[in-house]
Symmetry: C2
Subunit: 415 residues, 2 copies
């Protein structure tokens, strides 16, 4: 059974899964504190679910195939269509607002990007059925508290917030027409990554004059309170959401930044991204309000495990060791085996992680195995001590030993 | 976004995921106590991995397709090939015995079985690098302790153990030839499910005489110590494994039963299945030793989430409610909002699950929502009490209220 995983797919050896489980546990813990319930859907769905939302071009980026029942199916590239399907099926019965989260594995086949991952896990948190800005604040606060749960502070990550209604209002106010908005949004989105002359050409090609082009760059440069002031009434939800984050004590993480647009066409209101401050182009999470997709107001964000995992490793915030072994048990002779097994099971019953040598070997060799496994202590059951109802407990860090009654070991000595 | 999940695939609404998470948590907890480390691999693998092990016919039962890079790939139908691949890639570096577990989602496309599930989650626990029967006992004990972890006892489930070396030895000892063994194994495997005359015909067709046919039924009927006695030396590993389970105090769960054969061809030694006693044909878990598959001795078992989930529901052993909400916060007026948000965040910081009304509404309406969410208590922040530094804490079960200093609520009042 030789061979490798498919290109773009990861094997998770135990040392890798420690990090993944740490990420998942932190996600779940914060989501629970925020009163979100976990759901999941199938990793394989009808292809139509994705083409309906994103158009037929999306097929190029999917693991799509025809199954043996002649259905066009795809490995899920995102969770929102599944969420929408599940909510639609029970929309009457579900209490609103719906506060749900999920940790799906998502798949993309991108031909041109060799060496890049084709799967990742992504936390999805969504609120459905609430139009007010406190819902936006709630989701953004959860994303920040996840960062804090990993030990990251406002000097590590920043939440950049914008509102597509605000950008739109400002652009129209400066004389742009509706038909020029898509180009203007695209330029604002790229204003930090693409040279100015390229962006200017994009605007000129779309028919914008000098004044309108300048307006686009002016708006992209608006930050903080001045953005709110410039936009007036249309900026009220954004202002309220930021105020709520400040009331929660998270103001240090937050900045209003109108260059945040989010590529996906379906966002309709507040949008936000969490950034790694040391690599400002690296987004850790992103999301926003997408009121048009369902029959209900809706908002959500996604946070992947890959960029986050790299960040945690870089900052030394990844967990080091596995859950350590509480005890490694050793039977000196064959007659000691039943007592050792009884003891092993009793300790496990008390929640202690226990291993023992699965084949007979000398005590020295078994002690080596115990150390290799990272056990805190060894418990040696030998004929002489056993005759007196005792066993030897050896602390593998200090190399000290003590004789302890087996009865005590069976009844909570290590608790 | 209408539509359903694909046939055979499950949506997990929050109430479904509670059970799934309970199952996964119990699996992980017992595995950790037994010193097993978690790993995972990709859900999509090279098709060749499965045809190499199981022959080309397996393709009929798989979600297999050609990807955009012209690779023949399949959604994993089982975890063992992935395990074998991952172990082979690092066989030198990995400390033996390897004790690993995983909880993969597995996929099978079985055309003829409409209405049956095409995916399930399955705990896989394996020990690699240990040939002795204590390793078999270790795995079987873990499977039983998982049942005990779910609150099931020896009157709910039984572990039936056999050993293919024992069955083989007994059959050869009663005069069967090597070439008759596969048919004999098949008959023993089915002896509890298929009428005797059908089985007799199978044996006759394979060229067995009356004496040999009788031998097959005799051997299928052997139970407990008489099976060990009849087999002699070849039964020693089986005897030692059973003895070890007895030393651990799990003897009540265990019976030797030579009708346990396990269909898969690759098992080479002790094999076992966990059965639901009330429905004796319903296996909850199964596994055994497969020393031939890797270059190392190996053994493992699988336990799926579907039959187990049904069993837990039938016995009333499934968890009822979600993690309940610790508090639902209510702001009476807009001016109370900042204090309420500060309090919400402070309580969440202390690990308490908190929700609040995301839009302004009357107190009565918000109390209704609090009850609908299953909150233990409501905390009402209103202008009068707030002026005195107080908030109202309402116990939603007893409908009693108390005024509590906000400072105390911020600093561990509910801890």
């Amino acid at each position: 059974m030789q061979g490798k995983a498919l290109p773009g797919f990861r094997d998770f050896y135990p040392e890798d899964l420690i990090l993944r489980n740490h990420i998942f546990a932190t996600w779940r813990s914060v989501a629970a504190r925020y009163g979100f319930e976990e759901y999941d859907g199938p990793p394989l769905e009808s292809l139509e679910m994705y083409t309906q939302k994103s158009g037929d071009e999306i097929v190029q980026q999917l693991y799509a195939f025809r199954d043996k029942g002649d259905r066009d199916v795809a490995l899920r590239p995102e969770m929102t269509p599944t969420l929408a399907r599940m909510v639609a099926a029970r929309v009457q019965a579900l209490k609103k607002p719906i506060r749900w989260f999920s940790i799906p594995q998502l798949f993309r086949y991108e031909r041109q990007q060799r060496g890049r991952l084709r799967e990742h896990f992504q936390l999805n948190m969504d609120i459905i059925g609430e139009a007010g800005p406190l819902a936006d604040a709630e989701l953004m606060a959860a994303s920040v508290d996840i960062m804090r749960g990993f030990g990251l502070g406002p000097k590590d990550v920043q939440l950049r917030i914008s509102d597509r209604r605000v950008i739109r209002g400002l652009l129209l106010g400066r004389g742009l027409t509706e038909s020029q908005l898509p180009t203007a949004f695209a330029v604002i989105d790229r204003s930090e990554r693409v040279p100015t002359n390229v962006l200017e050409e994009m605007l000129t090609s779309a028919g914008l004059g000098k004044g309108e082009s300048r307006a686009v760059f002016d708006i992209a440069g608006l930050r903080g309170p001045e953005a709110l002031k410039a936009a007036g009434e249309v900026a009220e939800p954004l202002g309220q959401a930021v105020q709520a984050l400040q009331s929660m004590g998270l103001g240090d993480f937050v900045s209003i930044d109108l260059t945040i647009v989010r590529g996906l066409a379906y966002y309709t209101g507040i949008v936000f991204e969490l950034f790694d401050i040391q690599k400002t182009l690296r987004a850790i999470a992103g999301g926003g309000r997408y009121d048009g997709l369902l029959d209900l107001p809706a908002l959500g964000f996604g946070m992947g495990d890959v960029v986050l995992g790299e960040l945690l490793k870089e900052r030394g915030a990844a967990p080091k060791a596995s859950t350590e072994l509480g005890a490694f048990l050793i039977a000196v002779g064959g007659d000691d085996l039943p007592t050792m097994l009884q003891l092993a099971h009793a300790l496990r019953e008390r929640g202690i992680s226990v291993e023992y040598g699965l084949r007979h070997a000398g005590v020295r060799k078994q002690l080596e195995l115990a150390s290799a496994r990272g056990a805190a202590r060894a418990v040696i059951v030998g004929p002489e001590e056993r005759a007196q109802g005792l066993a030897v407990v050896r602390d593998l860090r200090t190399s000290t030993e003590a004789k302890v009654p087996i009865r005590q070991l069976l009844n909570g000595y290590f608790d």
